[in-house]
Symmetry: C2
Subunit: 334 residues, 2 copies
DNA sequence: TTGCACAATGGCAACGTTAACATTTGGGCG
DNA sequence: CGCCCAAATGTTAACGTTGCCATTGTGCAA
């Protein structure tokens, strides 16, 4: 009944418009060396036939895909949406597309991300690292496939970009010390989180840099519930006047935990979080926190690949500092 | 200095292995009609040269890309991460990749999503609709490009899939009525949200179906702050014993707003939300809510495209019901 | 008129892969 | 010994596009 579906090619358009295939191609690319009236004739033919340029033919000819691959071990992760927003924005800017791939994390290696991408139509790839891949030290990117890692670690062969978690802790700790607190207690996250560990280091080292021995930390698991428990535990510690929690959910949990033990925030204890993720979810609490610009991180990663048309780009490492957002949960005790 | 980068093709592998190009191709696809020892020789050659099959050549030959395009007007949106998880999972299952595109929402039309996709290497596309596109009624998908819309609306030419927002409200309202509440107050969302409006309809119609005239609704804007205001407003209404809020943030805001006016939840007023998005962020509150399976929605959409290899697939409409999750914020008043 | 520059267009080949068909080889059997 | 079958491998062409070079046409200066 129905005619066989066959894709319309330049050849068909050329025939209908009475020009050569080359002229059609030139019209598609709006070359100045085609007479306007010829162009119009070709365009009319394209419309009539419903011509759409074939990506495969084009890429084959050009040897470029104009596409960046993004490999994720976990799709659901804090900040991933913002990062994607950045990927998409940067890709758009350069006329690139984004190809998304979930990589199985068993084993958790860069190699598995890389080989997953190798057969896809991409000119470069971005890997979002949440943990430490087993082959981080030995990994080499596929030849001709520029690879950018989203991580704080530096890599000899791949460019890297991320938020500066160390600096984030430095900002928070110094902010609290400047306001007269004698020390800062820390509610951490599980040990396998790279960024969490880096925050922990930042907290520890900044305290030491100010001649303060870091107190015992309380290990949480990212959830408000664990923050709640931490808050209750720290409520009984008389030396604790300021708490820095590794994310906002735990910080909020902390506040409620402290309250449940009769402590008020910020009157009795100051609390600072990280992530600025509470915004629209909690009504009566303007938490002091650190805001990261994950969109910018994502843009940087894709820019690095899509922006370097043909140029042999060096390996770069980029850390974007967060911004401390003052809320109502810190008290000046000077 | 460095040799010119040139991609390794089947031809190179064939030469090195001393076989024909076809045998190389057959080896790549693990055809049973190649002698194991030949295969091994070819594989060795591939390894030595670092051969990777070229996607463009393959697609050109096959006329298929094994890729599904996803068009989003807003990347940052509730449930998008879960949906993407579903896209990726389903794509994986079928050996497909996902290409992500952000579509400019000016104008907010399906046509703009479609034309954005038309030049990309995709076999079909998914559009995530948040609002009502101007051309919803008149849109026709590109020929040969199967198009699935993520929306509750039905479309004559495109398959659609989404959560059942109407049923969600029905569940919530009936749940509350069964527990003895005489009516259910509603905290809504901005009017341009399709899913929000559908929830509103569900609330209204279910009440009417039970012979109850819906009370005046309170319009919110998705934020906890607006829920807080709504809670305060409703605290003074003596007929209000049960509140249904259009998302969890507003529900939580409501609870705090009620508390600020001396009302307790659930003792004085019951509160139910939608989304199950509070989980790890709020510590001391197990909100009664409705959980949607956005991953399943995403999987269905991609399955519809990637699962129908060559088959001419009909237009289908799919709504997945949410699951009411009982928490501690509803009181039985029978 | 001739020569020349330049604008507009056409012809051809190649990018890498694989479906379809063709050929070779070895073995079993009458 | 000749025949046929099946297994293994090879040859060819085509997918749609575009870079390169060739060709044609047009106007202008010599």
């Amino acid at each position: 009944m129905a005619a066989v579906k066959k894709s319309v090619s330049v050849k068909d358009v050329a025939r209908l418009a009475g020009v050569s295939e080359q002229t059609v191609s030139r019209t598609v690319h709006d070359s100045p060396s085609v007479r306007p009236e010829t162009k119009e004739r070709v365009r009319a033919a394209m419309r009539e036939l419903g011509y759409r340029p074939n990506f495969a033919g084009r890429s084959l000819r050009r040897g470029k895909f104009k596409t960046v691959g993004v490999a994720m071990f976990n799709i659901t992760g804090t900040g991933n949406l913002d990062r994607m927003e950045g990927f998409a924005a940067a890709a758009d800017k350069h006329g690139y597309a984004i190809t998304l791939t979930k990589v199985d994390g068993h084993p958790y290696t860069l190699e598995s991300a890389s080989s997953r991408m190798s057969a896809l139509p991409v000119d470069g790839m971005v890997v979002i690292m949440n943990r430490m891949p087993a082959d981080f030290g030995t990994f080499e990117p596929l030849p001709g496939m520029q690879t950018v890692l989203v991580t704080m670690l530096e890599h000899p062969l791949c460019s890297t970009v991320d938020n500066d978690q160390f600096d984030c802790s430095r900002q928070v700790v110094e902010y609290l010390l400047e306001r007269g607190h004698k020390t800062v207690h820390f509610v951490s996250c599980p040990e396998r989180s790279l960024s969490g560990m880096r925050r922990e280091e930042g907290w520890r080292e900044t305290l030491r840099a100010h001649g303060i021995e870091p107190p015992q930390l309380v290990r949480g698991d990212w959830t408000a519930q664990s923050g709640y428990a931490a808050g209750q535990a720290l409520a009984d510690d008389p030396t604790c006047t300021a708490i820095y929690a590794s994310n906002d959910a735990m910080a909020y949990g902390c506040i409620r935990g402290l309250e449940s033990r009769g402590k008020c925030v910020p009157q009795d204890v100051s609390v600072v979080g990280v992530d600025d993720s509470l915004g629209d979810i909690v009504p009566d609490c303007r938490l002091t926190t650190v805001r990261f610009d994950n969109k910018r991180v994502g843009m940087w990663a894709v820019d690095k690949i899509a922006g370097a048309e043909g140029v042999e780009p060096g390996v770069e490492h980029m850390l974007f500092p967060g911004v401390l957002v003052e809320g109502d949960t810190v008290r000046d005790v000077r």
